[in-house]
Amino acid sequence: MDAIMLQEKLVERLLCPRVRTSRQKEKQYVGFATLPNQVHRKSVKKGFDFTLMVAGESGMGKSTLVNSLFLTDLYKDRKLLNAEERINQTVEIIKHTVDIEEKGVKLKLTIVDTPGFGDAVNNNECWKPITDYIDQQFEQYFRDESGLNRKNIQDNRVHCCLYFIPPFGHGLRPVDVEFMKALHEKVNVVPLIAKADCLTPSEIKKLKDRVRDEIERFGIKVYQFPECDSDEDEEFKQLDKELKECCPFAVIGSNTVVEARGQRVRGRLYPWGIVEVENQSHCDFVKLRNILIRSHMHDLKDVTCDMHYENYRAQCIQDMTSKLTQDNRMESPIPMLPLPTPDVETDRLIKMKDEELARMQEMLNKMQQQIHDGKDQ
């Protein structure tokens, strides 16, 4: 908003007839304060993309929440499996892509769905297809980035993973812990408490404390909201603090619109009352939406690029070079310079050789000295 106002002021100054009194002011004003606005314009033109993954057992309300978040209906003709078909179900990865636009800003939204997670009777390693998918996307981006033609790189990397924790238990279950641990270094994990309308406010608080404790105890690195700048105003800071204390968010989703308090809102109709999805005292849906879309979407993308992807890339390169020195085959898929290997063995050998050289050098010097002395004498 500030950038737009700034631009307008600038336009005034540049296009309006000059006034003597303002000439001095103009001399001090260079004009790169319009940069944010330029960035804004360019980005609007380019459009944004965002990949969101939703994971959790079936029946947790994932699809409903996604529909509520983006106010669309992504899952029109979905076919759900019966219980007997799910006994030995494997996890699939399904992508839905939509293009949505708001006030001129285009967003290419990709939702990665994981049907079948945790549904089978034996769920050993049921998160493997998911981690494989994420790694695949990283690899794809890695290849594209290292390629010759880099004009149209498609960024399919997963920027955020919403994990739905069932509210029926007393905290995290083993499958939850294992899943989050397998993913926390590959993607931003945001845990959510699903179907929160089965918990009273005190129960929600207890469950959140429990889940936070267990996340810390098991060493799961969920997505941390960045600290807000110190020069933001108090209200913002207060909001930010509340946000952080609310994690994990207890959410409710709804596909239906009901009439409540004279308004039409998204909600769930019960005989004993109406749950409003966007009512802050009913659930944390609004907070989640703000975090995910309104304030931290870009931060999620940045963390994915700067941390998770870079980790993957470094690991990949390391593996490749160590393999190269072992196999002596030039089979790398990307063109690369021979880098010094961080191999422990060769380091040691090098050190030994260095020491030997140093010793020999010393001896040589001594001998030379002796010869010299001999000559003098």
Binding site: A83, N122, F168, G169, H170, R173, L269, W272, V275, H282
Partner: protein, 473 residues
């Protein structure tokens, strides 16, 4: 309680008689009732469901008390059964209630073995009862019946369908116990969703052949209510022990920011229906079904396994005792055979060991003999050598003496030698011995006479005479 309703009069002629007055056997049911009231009743409930789904809360709500229980953790390695027995009393009726909890159900990552502990527990209870029944001295009326009368299966309110684990478990349990499926935490499903959910669940159960408990419709008094309730399965329940003030009453409810869910409000949830069906109407039928159907099935399978049959190959009815006797004989025969075998083995082993020991003894003996022999040999050799050595010594001494005497008689040796040689030619060794004697004598001083007669006549005192020295005779 009658296990089967056999028509006692089927084989005899039935004649209907009318009574002339009031006899009084219409008080039989009352007698039965008063007897059972004094005895007390026993009821066992098994609650199967995920951790945290609300099993304990529902029990508390159903029986209106606080059974003590701790929250279970999600990190159990397997499913374990936790039976707890409580004594309840209402009016003058005693109820011994056992609630069995499945701790850790649905928490593991690999749930393929989750149903086993439950099935094992039910079977164990049946087995105990069977053992008691087969005892010689039994006290069935005193026996604390632990057989599970009802299994409440808690389904998670996902709104879609049954979970795969639910289906697998219920299929394993339906032939062993009466199952009533319940939708737990039903305050998270709206009315329309609930309707669809119930239909989906029932269709899945039917299509997979899972037999859940149907409320009996053959008893006139309860036919209507039972059949209507059958249509409401599975019951969607909400449990709560907290009291909330609604209007001017205090009811058990759950307080939400958007409203209050009342547990006993029929339009909110099916809790009242469940209580009616489970406790107020059909408790006795559940017990009967457990005994008549599930237990009998178990018993039949078990006894058939053991080899009992009702009819032998000739289609004559076998009595249990005969079969039992036959089995027993067989068993004892087996035992004896085994004992014989073991004894044989023992004897063989002993023989073997004895033989071995004998062998060893013999060897040792041989060795001893050998050594003794050697020892004797050695001794003999040593003796021989000693003798040889002694002989040598003697010989050596003699030679030494001889050598010494020879060196004494050295100067006369020439003449003596001549004479001796003459003499020796004529005489035998006698003269030699004489000369030897003379020589012995003359060893003191050598004689110079050239005639032996003179030599003999002279004595040593003459030896020094010079005349003799010159030999002038």
């Amino acid at each position: 309680m009658a296990a089967t309703d056999v028509d006692i009069f089927s084989n005899e002629e039935k004649r209907n008689l009318s009574l002339g007055g009031h006899v009084g056997f219409d008080s039989l049911p009352d007698q039965l009732v008063s007897k059972s009231v004094t005895q007390g009743f026993c009821f066992n409930i098994l609650c199967v469901g995920e951790t945290g789904i609300g099993k304990s809360t529902l029990m508390n709500t159903l029986f209106n008390t606080m059974f003590e229980n701790e929250e279970a953790s999600h990190y159990q390695n397997g499913v374990c059964m936790r039976p707890r027995t409580y004594d309840l009393q209402e009016s003058n009726v005693h109820l011994k209630l056992t609630i069995v909890d499945t701790v850790g159900f649905g928490d593991q990552i690999n749930k393929e073995e989750s149903y086993k502990p439950i099935v094992d527990y039910i079977d164990t209870q049946f087995e105990n009862y069977l053992q008691e029944e087969l005892k010689i001295k039994r006290s069935l009326f005193n026996y604390h019946d632990g057989r599970v009368h009802i299994c409440l299966y808690f389904i998670a309110p996902t709104g879609h369908s049954l979970k795969s684990l639910d289906l697998v478990t219920m299929k394993k349990l339906d032939s062993k116990v009466n199952i009533i499926p319940i939708i737990a935490k039903a305050d998270t499903i709206s009315k329309s969703e609930l309707h669809k959910f119930k239909i989906k669940i029932m269709s899945e159960l039917v299509s997979n052949g899972v037999q859940i408990y149907q409320f009996p419709t053959d008893d006139h008094a309860v036919t209507e209510i039972n059949s209507s309730m059958n249509a409401h399965l599975p019951f969607a329940v909400v449990g709560s022990v907290e009291e909330v003030k609604v209007g001017n009453k205090t009811v058990r409810a759950r307080q939400y920011p958007w409203g209050v869910v009342q547990v006993e409000n029929e339009s909110h949830c099916d809790f009242v229906k469940l209580r009616e069906m489970l406790i107020r109407v059909n408790m006795e039928d559940l017990r009967e079904q457990t005994h008549a159907r599930h237990y009998e099935l178990y018993r039949r399978c078990k006894l058939e396994e053991m080899g009992f049959t009702d009819t032998d190959p000739d289609c004559q009815p076998f009595s249990l005792q005969e079969t039992y006797e036959a089995k027993r004989k067989e068993f004892m025969g087996d035992l004896q055979k085994k004992e014989e075998e073991m004894r044989q083995m023992f004897v063989n082993k002993v023989k073997e060991t004895e033989a071995e020991l004998k062998e060893k003894e013999r060897e040792l003996h041989n060795k001893f003999e050998q050594l003794k022999h050697m020892h004797q040999e050695e001794k003999r050799k040593v003796e021989e050598k000693r003798r040889d050595l002694e002989e040598e010594m003697n010989a050596f001494n003699r030679r030494k003496v001889a050598a010494e005497t020879l060196s004494l008689a050295q100067p006369l040796k020439k003449d003596k030698d001549k004479k001796k040689s003459v003499k020796t030619e004529n005489q035998s060794g006698v003269s030699l011995s004489k000369s030897k004697v003379m020589m012995a004598k003359a060893s003191v001083e050598p004689l110079k006479c050239d005639s032996w007669w003179q030599a003999i006549q002279c004595c040593t005192c003459l030896v020094h005479n010079a005349t003799w020295k010159q030999g002038l005779f």
